[in-house]
Symmetry: D3
Subunit: 165 residues, 6 copies
């Protein structure tokens, strides 16, 4: 069974990594798929996000990294996958996830959304939180892979430079 | 009893239509009232939204379509209505609805907010979802009235053209 | 429009009274309907609950008190009503209410469940809370009508007497 | 991948059936496992529940029915399964499910709990609801498989006979 | 500031201990207060629960253990305390806690309920879960203090002996 | 015990004032700390918000008003405080508050987040609601201190003037 784990991963966190490892232990093949940005300006380009994900997932032999445009379910079907993997955090936005899962079921009834639970250690973690902490000068050690931490610090310093007159 | 069903209807969905029909079966007269846009730029003008709603509701004899500025409760009172109708979806943002209902009660204690449940079939549906699906090239058939579907497709193509350099 | 407001009212609280008054301002006729007890042993008999409700609602001319057996929707239809009124408390069990509303819609599609919001003052109030406070020797003044308060005190003293060897 | 779908199935509903079919489409093998009753007296014996489940699942070639005692995770490991399947309903008790999933992860870190979404049509459905409707004389047609419906009617009539003096 | 941390502690868990330590770091004095049992039969007597708590809390110099009857707020006032401490778990029953806090505020406006967050590690933990795991033959190591673990095993074996004919 | 009550207070509401008074009754010293704006443009400058808060809190002898940049926990530690006070509203965004509290615990384990409950009267109140009502021409009397009400009216008229061509 091939499973697609979609997200914006802007940037990836240790919560994402935890979920990728869980998915890799349940499904034959896992495709981590960077979703198109709807609305908000990303901090990292798709290419940069792909690199970070690829580096961190190198050790997981049944995991690959990709990106897609258009509808998620179209991408899933193109990849001959039948499962969308999503993470549920104990502290999380069920409603949005439910809305998306029910919508995707409507658009493609044969594709099943499967929820895995993130480790309780990362139940509070999200990309935007990681960005906020870093932007306020805090350390994200333990919240994101080291390579991501480094790139995040760099990027935010650039951003601050751009924002400050 | 006159009831006002407010919303931004940008654009209307089949979930809205479901709720209008339910409200029309409970109250003597239902005014579908397009609310002023606070903050975000709408996809359709008030006039366009009014036309779409009017066309779809033509068959419902005790339903009329209108728009308002300023506070909802002021509009309700001006219309001699005493009831605000809101939809509750099984998958929905209660907290925001509750906040609004308690606020409106504070502003106008004699106006009662009444919640009806959307059909389970549309529990995941929202205007923004419909827009997102359409924007990503998906079909919104069954999610919005046909006339809306057509106009939505048109508008988003224009938007894409404007956004793409 | 005739509306049925069902509940166990064991005993009625000021939150129930608040909701009855709101329903009476929205619908032409409101039937307060004491539901059959499923499972748990009531503190007051149906007859006692009916008396308490009738006394308190005496001043509301379009409100009557009744009790029923069997399915709620069957009772509603027998009464030529088309609306079930339920209270939503800001601090409340939506999920149970939603389950019941969706079930009732399935059993009788033409009957609509309508939710009104209890006053914020009573958002924490329930029959079981009132019973618990009274059982622990606390005053329920302001939480239940005076006549109920009196009967509650009596009943719980009897209960204590029975429970204590 | 072998998955275990545990529950009390007292009795099974169409919501359970929907979930079994979804699980069977995602995993190589699905074991429907009747859990021991903690606390409350069941309506049907484990043997009766097993028969009902077996009959209904006969057509699903990668689904088997079993029952277990003791801890779920011990059973899962004994069966060489690594996945527990649970249903999430849009209108559901996440908190309890989360508590159980986190507990099971603690007891057996290598066993993953995977959540699938029940069809929106059954989002309000539960065994206790089906029992309550039947007990009040309502029809559960469309809510439970026909064979279950029949047995349920029988059993509740016996129960009524026992309860009524 | 004296704070009262009420609960049934039947039996205490590592989640309770975590909260007692947090409360002890915030308030001058913490009274762990065993509440009267309303309704359900406890597994341990008040005396046994007090002993377990006292043993575990021996090292915390500003923590004492007590039990009370009647209303919590009456007990709090008798102890000259002005704060009730409650734990919030990420996976928890807010609604019940909110109901109780609002009720206690009504009964005694000068007593403030203060919520602390249990460690994420214990977010799924409750006395009933610990009892259930032990009853099913699982290990509660790491979920409850060792001394509690021992007593729990003993008690449940006695219970099983009583239940099994 | 010194406690820090952070927020954007843009502008302060009667709900904030209610919470400040509660915090001042529980802790030895309360610092109301205006947080840096992340993302959205504020209506009032930090200096204006500080003035409004200072004026309203003048009568509370153990309350001071300040502002900070960077991470909240760094500020808390610099102030030798060990407690962050946050308000929980019956109708509120727990999830966000939980995320923040768990994050802050991770960043500074010795700092405890303590939640107090806002009065039920203000359970629906937020700065953005107050701004929205005022922007739509409604009265915020009773929702914000008088001095704030006045400044709000002024500011929004200026805003309208700027927005309207």
């Amino acid at each position: 069974m091939i499973a697609v784990y979609p997200g914006s991963f802007d940037p990836m966190t240790n919560g994402h990594l935890d979920l990728i490892e869980r998915a890799a232990s349940v499904f034959d093949e896992v495709i981590v798929a960077i979703a198109p940005n709807v609305g908000k300006e990303p901090l990292f380009t798709v290419e940069e996000r792909r690199e970070m994900l690829s580096e961190v997932c190198r050790g997981l032999r049944n995991v690959s990294v990709d990106s897609f445009d258009g509808l998620l379910v179209s991408y899933v079907q193109k990849k001959n996958a039948r499962v969308i993997v999503k993470g549920l955090r104990a502290v999380s936005d069920f409603q949005y996830e439910f809305e998306m899962a029910l919508t995707n079921r409507r658009l493609a009834p044969s594709v099943e959304t499967v929820f895995l639970m993130t480790s309780a250690d990362y139940s509070y973690l999200s990309s935007s939180l990681v960005k906020e902490i870093a932007a306020l000068g805090g350390s994200v050690q333990g919240l994101a892979p080291e390579s991501v931490e480094e790139k995040l610090k760099q990027r935010l310093q650039e951003a601050v430079r751009r924002d400050t007159p």
